[in-house]
Symmetry: C2
Subunit: 145 residues, 2 copies
DNA sequence: TAAATAAATTAGCCAAGGCTAATTTATGAA
DNA sequence: TTCATAAATTAGCCTTGGCTAATTTATTTA
């Protein structure tokens, strides 16, 4: 998904997002850490990283590690942004953080820029209308406990 | 996706939704129509319908047609509901109908009930606040033309 | 009702993305 | 520096969900 530039699958986007997060957090992204972070096997990571390399999202040298290309980084940051916006949105609506996480994970690859930015503006507006948000959350049965 | 009852993949859910739509519109769902409606080959439909049968979502007899089981119908209706709610939501935000269609198609399989119903309540509230919606749409560059 | 056409099915293929088991390379500690 | 362990890779397999081409069954029409 994601329109401009090269095509990347949902799976590829997930990898790029996590790789970027690891690099930000620790300066590098090892295969073993990518695997742990995504909850999949190291072998699967090796395969996908090879693909990401041939498709130009990553520079990879066997046994030596990998870095994102500018294009890979662009996609990683775009996905991170979608993640942020959608997480904010569902959190504002009072959805529990575990559900937010799962739902966002699934949705973030399927939204046009237009929809995403409309939701972003909506969040902005909702911030100034806590009364409205209160009514929405009130409908929820898992209220303030 | 969809929690309660049997598991169904996103693809299976798409099939069930379309089958239900065809049955509602014409009283029956032929392989050739399901294929046309989903934009895939008849052979692929035959395969998936067999699977939907063995998984209990559909009753199918070779060359004789198919009907939804109660469970299949339950899922079809649940997906249709998600489709409705998400379509309403993005439309309210001023997203173009083609984009709404594509986005909803992608998202509808990935939302928890909690998130879905929070969005439903949000739409309800937004209906009473056209001023708010106006501001959101205003941020869009493809405004009133 | 027999032949032509439309619909459905089968067989066999492909790519994406997972997996495990076995092997190879790198690295840290004695 | 050598050996034990950790990390990475390879080989080979699986499922999902597509596809085309060939075949079979149903249906329509002359």
């Amino acid at each position: 998904m994601i329109k401009s530039g090269n095509k990347s699958s949902s799976a590829a986007e997930d990898y790029l997002e996590r790789i970027q997060e690891l690099i930000e957090a620790k300066g590098y992204a090892r295969m073993v850490d990518i695997a742990a972070s995504l909850g999949i096997s190291q072998a699967s990571v090796t395969n996908m990283v090879k693909r990401l390399d041939t498709e130009g999202f990553v520079l990879y040298e066997k046994y030596r590690g990998l870095v994102l290309t500018p294009e890979g980084e662009r996609i990683a940051k775009e996905i991170a942004r979608r993640h942020r916006i959608l997480t904010d949105f569902l959190s504002q609506l009072g959805v529990s953080s575990e559900e937010v996480e799962r739902d966002v994970e699934g949705m973030e690859h399927h939204l046009s820029l237009d929809s995403l930015e409309a939701i972003e503006r909506l969040c902005q507006q909702l911030t100034c209308h806590p009364d409205l948000l209160a009514k929405i959350k009130h409908g929820s049965n898992k209220g303030i406990l």
